[in-house]
C-alpha cells in the first residue's frame, strides 16, 4: 500500500493553506490516506518576548497573534491582566470594548466565509464583496485608533481613544448597510446549489471528537454544542446584551460556514445595543508606572475563532514571569488529520477552509 502512496507537500506556500501552514498529504489516487500538519513557520516566540516586556508593552504583540481579529486579542489579554491586577475598566470603556470586539468579529467572519468560498473555487467574487464590507469596519477602527490592522486599542483599564459622534454615525451606517448586504451572501453562497453540494456533509466533526481535541468557537458550535464564553462566562457587559448563540446541527463544513453567517447577524445586534446603551465617562486611561503583577490568572474570552485563553504568571516584577497564550486555532487545526482522513483532496481543502485558522496565533 505504501508503494502506491503519492506524497504531496501542500504548503508552506500554497494558495489555500491560509498562511504558512505545511500539510504533508499522503494520497491514494486523490484520497487522503494521511494528513500531517507541520506548523511553526511563523513562530516568533511571542511567549518568550512577553517575559521581557511590561504588561502594557505586550499589548501590541497580541495584535500579531490573530491578526484578523486584533481587537479580540487586545481584549483577551487586557481582561486577563485586569483580572490579575484586580482592576475594572470604566463602564464606557467596557461598552466600547464590546463594540470593537463585535465589529472585529464581523470583519474576521467576513474573511472566513469568503476565503472558504475561495477554497471551494468561487473565484474572488465573494472575497471582494467581503473585503468591501470589511473596509467599512477597518475605516471605523482607523477613526477610532488610527490603525487599520494592528490596533493596540484596548488598554489595561480602558481604551486608547474615545468614541465620537462621527464614528457612532459610521457604525450606525455600517449596521444598516450590512444587514442588507448579508442577504447577498445568502444568495451568492448559502443557498447556492454547487456551494451546498461541495460543503454539505463534508468533513463532519463529531461532537465528542471536537471536545476531546479542544475545538472551540464556531467550529464547536457547528456540532450543536452550546458553548459560547460570552454567554456561559459573561465578561464585560455581555450579560446585559441580548443575543443568541447560533448552533449547527450536523457539524459539517456548511454548518461551520452558516454558524459564522448567523454570528455576524448577532454581532450586528450586539453592536447596535451597545451603541445605544453607551454610558458617559472618560474611557481613556493614562498609566504612568508599570504594573507589577503578582499571582497567576487564566482568563478566557470568545475570539472569532474560539476560546482565547491567556495564562499570566507574575512574581511582583514589572515583567510577567510566564505568559501562555491558548490560541483557539492551535487546537482547531490539530483536529484536521482526523477530519481529512479518507477525504478527497478537494474536500480536504474545503475542510481546512471551513476551520478558519490563522497561522499567527497557531505559531505565536
Amino acid at each position: 500500500m505504501i508503494k502506491d502512496e503519492l506524497v504531496i507537500n501542500m504548503g508552506p506556500q500554497h494558495p489555500s493553506t491560509h498562511g504558512v501552514l505545511f500539510l504533508e498529504l499522503r494520497l491514494n489516487g486523490e484520497i487522503v490516506n494521511d494528513c500531517r500538519p507541520h506548523i511553526g513557520y511563523l513562530h516568533r516566540s511571542i511567549e518568550k518576548v512577553a517575559e521581557s516586556r511590561t504588561l502594557t508593552q505586550f499589548i501590541p504583540f497580541t495584535d500579531r497573534l490573530d491578526y484578523l481579529a486584533s481587537m479580540n486579542n487586545n481584549l483577551g489579554f487586557c481582561l486577563a491582566a485586569e483580572r490579575l491586577l484586580q482592576i475594572e475598566a470604566v463602564r464606557r470603556a467596557q461598552y466600547l470594548r464590546v463594540i470593537v470586539a463585535e465589529l472585529n468579529r464581523i470583519a474576521s467572519h467576513l474573511l472566513a466565509i469568503s476565503t472558504f468560498a475561495q477554497d471551494l473555487g468561487a473565484y474572488a467574487t465573494a472575497l471582494f464583496y467581503a473585503m468591501r464590507d470589511r473596509q467599512k469596519i477597518v475605516q471605523i477602527f482607523d477613526e477610532l485608533c488610527g490603525q487599520r490592522l494592528t490596533y493596540n486599542y484596548v488598554r489595561i483599564g480602558g481604551v486608547s481613544g474615545d468614541m465620537t459622534p462621527k464614528i457612532a454615525q459610521m457604525i450606525r451606517d455600517f449596521i444598516a448597510s450590512e444587514r442588507e448586504i448579508l442577504k447577498d451572501y445568502d444568495d451568492l453562497l448559502t443557498h447556492n446549489i454547487i456551494f451546498k453540494a461541495r460543503s454539505k456533509n463534508i468533513g463532519v466533526l463529531a461532537q465528542d471528537i471536537a471536545l476531546s481535541y479542544g475545538v472551540t468557537g464556531p467550529n464547536l458550535r457547528a456540532t450543536g454544542f452550546n458553548w459560547d464564553v460570552r454567554k456561559d462566562e459573561p465578561y464585560l457587559v455581555y450579560d446585559k446584551l441580548d443575543f443568541k448563540v447560533s448552533l449547527g446541527t450536523v457539524g459539517d463544513a456548511w454548518d461551520r460556514y452558516f454558524v459564522r453567517v448567523q454570528e455576524m447577524r448577532e454581532s450586528l445586534k450586539i453592536v447596535e445595543q451597545a451603541l445605544a446603551a453607551l454610558p458617559e465617562g472618560d474611557p481613556v486611561v493614562k498609566v504612568n508606572k508599570p504594573f507589577r503583577p503578582n499571582g497567576e490568572v487564566y482568563m478566557r474570552t470568545e475570539s472569532p475563532r474560539g476560546d482565547l485563553g491567556f495564562y499570566i504568571v507574575g512574581n511582583g516584577e514589572a515583567f510577567p514571569y510566564r505568559l501562555k497564550i491558548r490560541a483557539p486555532s492551535f487546537s482547531n487545526i490539530s483536529v484536521l488529520p482526523v477530519m481529512a482522513k479518507g477525504l478527497n483532496v478537494s474536500d480536504a481543502v474545503c475542510v481546512l477552509g471551513s476551520l478558519d485558522i490563522v497561522m499567527g496565533e497557531i505559531d505565536r
Binding site: 504531496i8 494558495p15 489555500s16 486523490e30 474572488a124 454547487i194 453540494a197 483532496v345 478537494s346
Partner: protein, 323 residues
C-alpha cells in the same frame, strides 16, 4: 505542371488572417475577462495601460515574451517542450471551419462540425503531456483530472451536436447556418435541451468554472501548467482563451444562426452572438464555486449522457414521423 499559385496565396492570406485573429481575440478576451470580473466584483480592473487598460494584454504579452523559459529539473524534456504546441495548434486549426460570414470562411469542409469537435479534442493530449512531463505532482494530478474530464464530457457534447446535425441534415458549418434561415435552432424545444447540454459540456471541455477542476487553484495551484513560464505559459493561456472563443462561436453557429442577421454585415452578427455567449460564460465563472471531481463525473455520465441520448432518440422519432 499546373501549380495553383493563386489558390495557395489565397489560403496563406486566410491562414494569416486566422493567426492574427486568434492572437488578437485571445488578448481581447483576456482583457474582457478582467473587465467583466472587475465589473462583477465592484472594482475597476486594469486602468493604467491605455484607455480603460485596453493595452494591458499587449503589455502582458510583451512581458511573457521576454521572460525566461524555466525548465523544471527532472522534467521529461521532450514531452514537456512539446505539450504547449499540442494545446495551442489544434486551437488555431479549429478556425479553418469557423464561418464568420457567407464567404468569410477559410475552407468549408463538408465534415465541418465533426472536424472542429475532433481537432479540439487533441488538446487533451497536450494537457496530459504537460501534466506528465512537468515532474510535478500537482501537474500530474491536474493532467489526470483533465484527461478524465474532457474525455467524459466529449460524449454528451457530441450527442448534443448530433441533434443539431439531424435537424440541419448536414455536418458542414455553412450548411448548418443555412439550415437556420427559416428560424434559429434554439427555438425548437429538442434543440433547446441539446443547447443546454452542449453549453455545459463545452464549459467542461475548456476547463472553465464550475468545471475548472484540472486547474483548481485552491487545490492544485495551477494544475497542469504550474511549471510553465514565459512564452510556453502564454501558449497555454492563448490556447485556453482561443478554445473559449471556439466553443462560444460554435454555440452561436449551431444554435443561434451563426452569421445570419439583418441590417449589419454578417461577421458583425457572428461576433456579436459569439461574444454574447462569451459574456455569459464569464458571468458564470465569476459567480459559481467549483464542483468536485466525482460530482462532475457523476453529472456527465449519469445525467448529461442519458439525457443527450434520449434527446437524440426523441429528435429522430420526430424527424421520421415528419418524413
Amino acid at each position: 505542371m499546373n501549380f495553383p499559385v493563386q489558390e495557395l496565396l489565397k489560403l496563406a492570406a486566410k491562414g494569416g488572417f486566422v493567426l492574427g485573429f486568434v492572437a488578437v481575440s485571445a488578448m481581447f478576451l483576456i482583457w474582457l475577462e478582467r473587465k467583466v470580473s472587475a465589473w462583477i466584483q465592484n472594482r475597476k480592473g486594469p486602468m493604467m495601460t491605455g484607455p480603460q487598460g485596453a493595452f494591458q494584454s499587449v503589455a502582458d504579452t510583451v512581458k511573457l515574451l521576454l521572460k525566461e523559459n524555466i525548465v523544471p529539473s527532472g522534467a521529461d524534456f521532450f514531452i514537456w517542450w512539446l505539450a504547449p504546441f499540442f494545446v495551442a495548434i489544434p486551437a488555431v486549426m479549429a478556425f479553418v471551419c469557423m464561418p464568420f460570414g457567407p464567404h468569410h470562411i477559410v475552407y468549408d469542409l463538408n465534415v465541418g462540425i465533426l472536424y472542429i469537435c475532433s481537432i479540439t479534442s487533441v488538446s487533451v493530449l497536450g494537457i496530459f503531456m504537460a501534466g506528465w512531463g512537468s515532474n510535478n505532482k500537482y501537474s500530474l494530478l491536474g493532467g489526470m483530472r483533465s484527461a478524465a474530464q474532457i474525455i467524459s464530457y466529449e460524449v454528451p457534447l457530441l450527442l448534443s451536436v448530433l441533434v443539431v446535425v439531424m435537424e440541419a441534415g448536414t455536418v458542414s458549418m455553412q450548411g448548418i447556418v443555412h439550415a437556420q434561415e427559416p428560424g434559429w435552432f434554439i427555438l425548437k424545444p429538442n434543440v433547446m435541451v441539446a443547447f443546454l447540454i452542449y453549453l455545459i459540456s463545452a464549459t467542461a471541455e475548456v476547463n472553465r468554472v464550475p468545471f475548472d477542476i484540472p486547474e483548481a487553484e485552491s487545490e492544485l495551484v495551477a494544475g497542469y501548467h504550474t511549471e510553465y513560464s514565459g512564452m510556453k505559459f502564454a501558449m497555454f493561456f492563448v490556447a485556453e482563451y482561443t478554445n473559449f472563443f471556439i466553443i462560444s462561436a460554435t454555440t452561436a453557429t449551431l444554435f443561434f444562426g451563426g452569421w445570419l442577421g439583418p441590417w449589419a454585415p454578417s461577421p458583425v452578427w457572428f461576433l456579436l452572438k459569439a461574444y454574447g455567449i462569451v459574456f455569459f460564460l464569464m458571468w458564470v465563472r465569476w459567480t459559481l464555486p467549483r464542483l468536485r471531481m466525482d460530482q462532475m463525473m457523476t453529472f456527465a455520465w449519469k445525467v448529461l449522457t442519458p439525457l443527450a441520448l434520449v434527446n437524440v432518440l426523441v429528435t429522430g422519432w420526430f424527424l421520421v414521423r415528419k418524413g
